[in-house]
């Protein structure tokens, strides 16, 4: 299957709408991206600390079982029985000595080796497998696994570069900052958004929308385009970091930029302002640092709300978003309460995040019927070169996403900007 994409511009400042709505594109994404030479976020080590602990998840459409062996090493395998294709493990998390498929009770050890086939030799010399059936050939398909600062990643491809090279210095620095101490997982939120998964990956790279769509951010000064901040990417422009410094602008600056009608801060105050309190935890004074990792994750700090987000594609028209919130193991009760209070800002009902789902769903619905020549416009922060910006009003990292996407999909235009 080859895809014929007519890029109007080699800098990805025009992206055809049909790329969000094509079954052929989706099938190729599964092969070239999710099962291709990329590292995907799987889960946190803190979710499965003990030998025998496991977690199931999805990488694109592929079910994945992450399992900690008796010796402490972490393994990941396709959660699909080698016999009849049923999910071997039906639970999201737990602890076990062996993974057994309920269908015909084939069982696998904690590293994915097939260790048991009931009635392999039949009964009384009748039935069962032929002599040449070799269990060693029927283990679960393995992913390569690598951990970085307590985050577990997996890849299907032997060609994927080492994890730290894939993340690059920018992502490694951001993850190291966020994962600076042992974690305590505080819980989960999930939502199903009815739009193409790429719309969310773009949304996360779009600094331009943040303080326009999310009025709460502007109104209460959490994140304004007038603040000191910007975007940073890795050298391949596949990952990005959005950052801002609280208090680096004044209400006056913001008013001059937004105009009075867009800024309600005079009229609106919170009766309980603890929601907005920022307790500086790191050496720098960034109150907002949200990174996005190609192809399926985001790692966030807004004030003291800390979380990972995982994106699981569910066909052309939907994706699941899983938020895993954490604090640090040495947080006292007051700090834990503070984090739990601040997660009112995020998730499916977050005061600064609920809009994203709506924006994605209306974009997905309205662009579905567009003809092949119709495109989105991506040129805030300028056209041409894809590079870091030390200001907020830009969507350059969206073009970074498309440049790496096109490279992996084998659909780059001639003279493509990378």
């Amino acid at each position: 299957m080859s895809l014929n994409v007519e890029w109007q511009r080699s800098d990805y400042s025009r992206v055809p709408y049909w790329l969000y709505h094509s079954a052929d594109v989706y099938a190729r994404e599964q092969e070239m991206i999710f099962r291709g030479p990329t590292w995907s976020y799987l889960c946190l080590e803190a979710e499965m600390p003990e030998p025998g602990d496991f977690r199931t998840t999805w990488v694109g459409d592929t079910p994945v079982l992450v399992s900690r062996d008796r010796d402490g090493t972490v393994h990941a395998m396709v959660n699909r029985c080698a016999h009849r294709g049923a999910a071997v493990c039906r639970h999201v998390r737990g602890n076990t000595k062996v993974h057994t498929c309920i269908y015909h009770r084939w069982s696998y050890d904690l590293t994915g080796n097939l260790i048991g086939v009931p009635f392999q030799r039949g009964i009384g010399g009748q039935g069962g497998m032929d002599e040449d059936f070799d269990k060693a050939e029927h283990g679960l398909r393995r992913l390569r696994v690598a951990c970085y600062k307590g985050i577990i990643f997996g890849t299907f491809s032997d060609a994927t570069e080492p994890l730290e090279d894939y993340l690059g210095p920018m992502m490694c620095a951001h993850i190291s900052r966020l994962m600076c101490k042992p974690l305590r997982v505080l819980g989960y939120q999930r939502q199903r958004i009815h739009g193409n998964w790429k719309l969310y990956l773009e949304n996360l790279r779009d600094t331009y929308h943040a303080s326009l769509l999310h009025e709460f951010l502007v109104t209460f000064g959490l994140d304004r385009a007038t603040q000191k901040g910007g975007v940073k990417m890795d050298v391949r422009h596949r990952h990005n970091l959005t950052y801002a410094h609280a208090g680096s602008d004044s209400d006056g600056d913001a008013k001059a930029a937004y105009g009075d009608h867009q800024l309600n801060s005079d009229k609106l105050t919170l009766r309980d302002p603890r929601l907005l309190e920022f307790r500086q935890e790191y050496e720098d004074d960034r109150n907002l640092a949200i990174s996005t990792m190609f192809p399926n994750a985001s790692f966030q700090q807004l004030n003291n709300s800390l979380a990972t987000r995982q994106i699981q594609s569910k066909g052309i028209d939907a994706f699941d978003l899983i938020w895993t919130y954490f604090g640090y193991a040495d947080d006292d009760e007051d700090m834990t309460d503070h984090r739990l209070r601040q997660l009112n800002l995020f998730g499916p009902g977050g005061l600064v995040s609920m809009e994203d789902a709506e924006a994605i769903e209306i974009a997905h619905r309205a662009s579905r019927s567009e003809d092949a020549s119709a495109t989105t416009v991506i040129e805030v922060g300028g056209k041409g070169e894809i590079s870091d910006r030390a200001y907020r009003v830009n969507d350059v990292p969206i073009r970074g996403f498309w440049s790496y996407y096109a490279e992996l999909m084998g659909i780059e235009p001639e003279g493509a900007v990378r």
């Binding site: 819980g187 009025e215 209070r341 005061l351």
Partner: protein, 157 residues
């Protein structure tokens, strides 16, 4: 034995609760809570794992007020109409002026083109107190069984 009058008053409280939300009378809905209240929406997953993360957490009536002000003035969300179906209220116990009560709910949501679906279902695990102004919620915990939230969560459940 729970007095019939108390039982009927608690039934009315739940009826008002659903009716106010369905009619988008969030400011009236707010008045069904005492000042020192807790309102939270909890994914059943976290409740079963003993993990504290909620989908919405208001630790007092001011935080509930802030949520409503934000919805009215600082949030954009799906245009929708809700319909709550609340089961018969089960009164589990009484301690002083406080009643421990539970009810199941199903909440349907329709969009502005007339399409709708079952949006949320689960259980209310509540504490109701009788004030001079009748029964009010001191604590309301919405435990959501279908905790992978469809679309988004804006107005309270």
């Amino acid at each position: 034995m729970i007095a019939v009058e108390a039982r009927l008053a608690i039934d009315d409280l739940f009826a008002d609760y659903g009716a106010h939300l369905d009619a988008d009378r969030l400011e009236d809905w707010l008045e069904l809570f005492v000042e020192d209240c807790v309102y939270q929406i909890v994914p059943r997953e976290n409740a079963e794992l003993g993990l504290p993360v909620t989908l919405m957490l208001c630790e007092n009536k001011d935080m509930l007020r802030d949520r409503i002000v934000s919805l009215r003035q600082a949030n954009e969300y799906s245009i929708h109409t809700d319909k709550h179906l609340i089961s018969k209220v089960r009164i589990k116990g009484k301690a002083g002026d406080s009643y421990a009560v539970e009810a199941n709910y199903a909440m349907y949501q329709a969009d502005n083109e007339g399409n709708g679906s079952l949006y949320s279902f689960g259980t209310y695990v509540d504490e109701v107190v009788f004030t001079d102004d009748g029964p009010k919620f001191r604590a309301k915990t919405v435990i959501v069984d279908n905790w992978s939230i469809p679309h988004m969560l804006s107005t309270p459940i």
